[in-house]
Symmetry: C2
Subunit: 603 residues, 2 copies
């Protein structure tokens, strides 16, 4: 057998780290052959490792044997090369490569591993289909862009662990084999060999454990952990995802926010060298919904929503007037300065777009650069009414107003909110390297569940209400706001959390407001209620979606690109080929049987 | 409702951090009432947090209202106390408390949470049953010893992450939802809602993924991750446990060992302030078995095994003679200096002890301090033979020799190895704070499986053989040694690893030696074999059992004490009450049914 050992040929430097300052040194590099170029007796072998690519040069006239070995190397062979690092001739300098000012004049080469032709080229500039990328993920991960993504993710977690350690947080692991929750529909279950007929569940989050850790006096907890949700198929969802999960004792909302702002500032600085100004802006949920039609407002661009219900109420356009008279709302956005980008045909299509958000239609008014106006509804209005709307919208030349009237204010807001984001996207106004962080606060404590025909907890039943709203629990619970907060980056929810109820009396009131009988509360949360009876500190916390955080920091569109081994949309792993059938013996050991076998849905 | 808010009463210091240097400051502390002592108008309230306990003093004659509130406080109430920190009178100094030189003269108190009487006292000096400790784990974790354990664990993981980060390792997460392995019997399975009839498996280790990460050029990988094994009930086993898992490219065994020795040195220094001298001792597997009868030798004490087969071969004691003539072995240990600790009755009991290790009996020779000798076998030997054995054993006054003869050398070695550990334990020679680390190397590549009647891989089929033993693969595979290494601490395996095969040709040979047909190899490891065909770097790694590492560092006997929420021996969680039955609807969604329900075995 050939010598494929690394002995005697271990690297002195990473390929991508070599610079002019190293010239004159004898170096050894180890890596994958990225390209080979034969320049008539001089062979250039580009060698790649995690740090980058360096050129190794083999001159047949100097050492024919060495040249001949190098000549057999094909793309993706793994080799070790030893030689003298020299400055390239000025004409040969490659400014596109960080190592482009130097090359290694090879004095030795060893082939550590040969390679078959890969199913796709390891080349960031080449488009490769998702299916094949994921089937051969280990090859996909050789692409410099993917390596960069995972290095960024490593850096983010490292910053998190160090920052929170410095701030007194203890990393404490919570179990993966735990109990199915009352809303068990999304739980992954794990049958138990030792306990026939019984099941563990994989955690949707460590929420209960982290609160128990606060009751146990651990004071500050952090964990970066996998969570599991057996959700319906959706693009860019993973059945397992990673949270940076934390909880603090003896704190109020401002304390949780402050420590997390420090963390975010550190991440942006250390990972991207971007300075984030603190404190971050805060916006109440109501303001976010009113101005941006979203509880995760993207504030990188304008087009804020304005309410014209007061103008519409008495106007001559019956649709507007009736909507307001029946308790509804009329709202608009002004796509200021971009009217010329939207011909009539485009505008009509946007009408279809807002309908997917349950809006009934989209009225519009376009002000051309020459001062002329076209509109779907202006003809029904008086001059004064038009003037009032224009004034409210701050409309001027080349502006385009979109109006939605709806019986439900949230429907109007959400439709316009989605529209403003869609328009910004089309206009290229939402830059990925323009990082706009903000907190959304004062979330409603409850939301109405049409399915259950009652108020349900918007976060979870342990979320504390705002102090001044506690009396409303008895009188008007729908108006109660929670000590809950989300951290938003560029229209995405990076994380969210709340202050928890630590007072058993208040917890009882909360269960009452949620329509829980004492028995039901006990059945679902018995061990937690017991735990709280033994002395509970005021506490609160937050959990970040690490995948999404990394995706946004890396300027990517898919969380798959920051996960080493992701699953596809149907929750299967194309590389490992799982889930898969198992031996009947295994099932029998677990005291379970399969009741139905179906074809796997398309990936 | 009472004001139970932390607002205005947030701590300035942790209870346990207050010292004489803080005297004169107005401080606020938050914590749990550890004890209350009423000293006739002066009330001492001891307040506890993660950092320790401080005394808060309430004088009725100074502030009766404050005194009355403090008077209502019972053990485990959560309170905030504000006051002036003062030096105690000399007579009142408590040298047993780190804060014993100071006390807080209370100026304000707020009860943040009342507490029912806890099912056991939060007191390290009180013994509490395991069942009740684990049912109320959140109370058990309030005990200072348990808080210390979890803080130590946090520190160990923090050191690991920083050390390996500094050494170029990337933390990369691998999936929890993966594929059942060929030896699937120990896999936890997870049914899939989306793929009826198919299952994920929870990983027994990330072995395949970490090797794929090396193939992907990630170069150095670390992960601290949960692994799962559905094993039979055994004391101090956890169905989920935590590994510090790592892998490196372009390395040999010495490189892996060197980087890990640096890690261990750092852990001992930073966590325990103990200096570990490097390099650590190494011992081959053969030497470890011969001298210590174990592949995880405890070298804190002597009693090494010696072979007397050559003396026994021609001796007049038939049992010894026949054993050697039939290819067996006669070995002994010398419990030197402790003969007087073992009366005859004890010695007889040790004969029973070694039988549990499959030894057929235990011969002995006792040399009293007065020079007299008693023995179970000396009467069958000549003076010269006795003298030869004594010389080989280095026997002198007050020594006790134990001899095992067995057809199988490993049986003799293992029985004597277990005996020496048992004796050291009884004699108190194995001190928990005497840390003896060593590497065991040159493990056999294969072991004989009686079940399968063939050689099987001792580690896994990707473990590289030692270079000089490669020819033996064809001629005498049982003699092949592997590039495998375990790190041992005080008789426990802290971790283990190997250099992996990166050469497809050698891998083929290995599969052949294991008796795998090409089809079988492909069926079991197809995606890995394919992956290796696209260019594989030389690589190797190691995995530590984090639970055990923390247990040993903390000087504990059970890994449960370094796991926040452990499971009991029957793999159930007494606090969460899981595993548990689930709704039929959930099972139906997963296309499975329970085929057998049994009573839960005793915890």
């Amino acid at each position: 057998m050939n010598n494929t050992s690394i002995a005697g040929m271990k690297r002195t430097h990473m390929c991508g780290d070599l610079r002019l300052e190293h010239a004159g040194q004898t170096v050894t590099v180890n890596g994958w052959v990225d390209r080979v170029r034969d320049n008539g007796g001089v062979l250039f072998l580009l060698l790649r490792d995690r740090a980058g690519i360096v050129q190794c040069t083999f001159d047949k006239s100097v050492n024919a044997d060495l040249f001949d070995i190098a000549f057999t190397c094909r793309t993706e062979f793994v080799v070790a090369v030893k030689g003298k690092l020299v400055a390239r001739d000025t004409a040969a300098i490659n400014k596109k490569m960080p190592t482009g000012e130097v090359e290694i004049i090879a004095e030795d080469i060893r082939i550590l591993s040969k390679a078959e032709t890969t199913p796709f080229e390891i080349d960031d500039t080449k488009e490769v289909g998702d299916q094949i990328r994921l089937k051969y993920r280990y090859l996909d991960l050789r692409r410099p862009s993917m390596q960069k993504n995972l290095m960024l993710r490593h850096r983010v977690t490292q910053v998190a662990r160090n920052y929170f350690d410095e701030h007194g947080f203890l990393e404490i692991e919570t179990p993966m084999l735990t109990k199915s929750t009352p809303e068990g529909a999304r739980d992954y279950l794990v049958p138990s060999r030792v306990h026939p007929g019984k099941f563990y569940a994989l955690p949707q989050s460590p929420q209960q454990y982290k609160q128990l850790l606060m009751l146990s006096g651990m004071d500050r907890y952090i964990q970066i952990t996998h969570c599991f949700r057996d959700e319906d198929l959706r693009a860019d969802r993973q059945p397992e995802f990673t949270q940076i999960d934390l909880e603090m004792s003896f704190v109020e909302q401002d304390d949780v926010i402050a420590v997390n702002e420090g963390f975010l500032q550190r991440v942006f600085k250390e990972v991207l060298d971007v300075d984030i100004q603190l404190p971050l802006p805060r916006m109440t949920w109501q303001d976010a919904m009113d101005k941006y039609g979203s509880d995760k407002p993207d504030v990188r661009f304008g087009f804020e929503i304005r309410d014209i219900s007061d103008i519409a109420k008495d106007c001559s356009f019956k649709v507007f007037k009736d909507t307001v008279e029946n308790g509804g709302t009329v709202r608009l956005i002004n796509v200021n300065g971009y009217a010329d980008k939207f011909p009539r045909k485009e505008i009509d299509k946007l009408g279809e777009f807002v309908k997917t958000y349950r809006a009934k239609g989209l009225a519009w008014m376009k002000l051309a650069a020459d001062g002329s106006m076209t509109s779907s509804f202006a003809k029904f209005l008086s001059e004064d009414e038009i003037a009032a709307i224009k004034e409210r919208a701050g409309a001027k030349e080349n502006d385009l107003l979109f109006v939605v009237a709806d019986a439900n204010w949230q429907t109007a807001a959400v439709a316009l909110g989605a529209l403003r984001c869609e328009l910004a996207k089309r206009l290229g106004l939402a830059k990925k390297d323009d990082f706009k962080l903000l907190w959304v606060t004062e979330f409603p404590q409850f939301e109405y569940s049409e399915e259950e025909n009652r108020l349900v907890a918007m976060h979870h039943p342990f979320t504390a209400p705002m102090d001044e709203d506690i009396p409303l629990l008895d009188t008007d619970p729908a108006k109660v706001r929670a000590k809950a907060y989300d951290i938003i980056l560029n229209g995405c929810e990076l994380g969210g959390g709340s202050i928890r109820i630590h007072d058993p009396e208040l917890q009882t009131k909360m269960f009452e407001a949620l329509g829980f009988t004492e028995e039901k509360a006990k059945e679902q949360f018995g061990h937690l209620i017991t735990a709280f009876s033994y002395g509970a500190p005021p506490h609160g916390g937050l959990a970040y979606g690490l995948d999404r955080l990394c995706m946004l920091l890396a300027g990517l569109d898919s969380i798959r690109d920051v996960i080493a081994f992701p699953k596809v949309q149907n929750a299967s792993d194309l590389m490992m080929n799982c889930p898969d059938i198992v031996d009947d013996k295994q099932l029998d050991d677990l005291s379970i049987a399969v009741t139905r076998v179906e074809e796997t849905p398309e990936a």
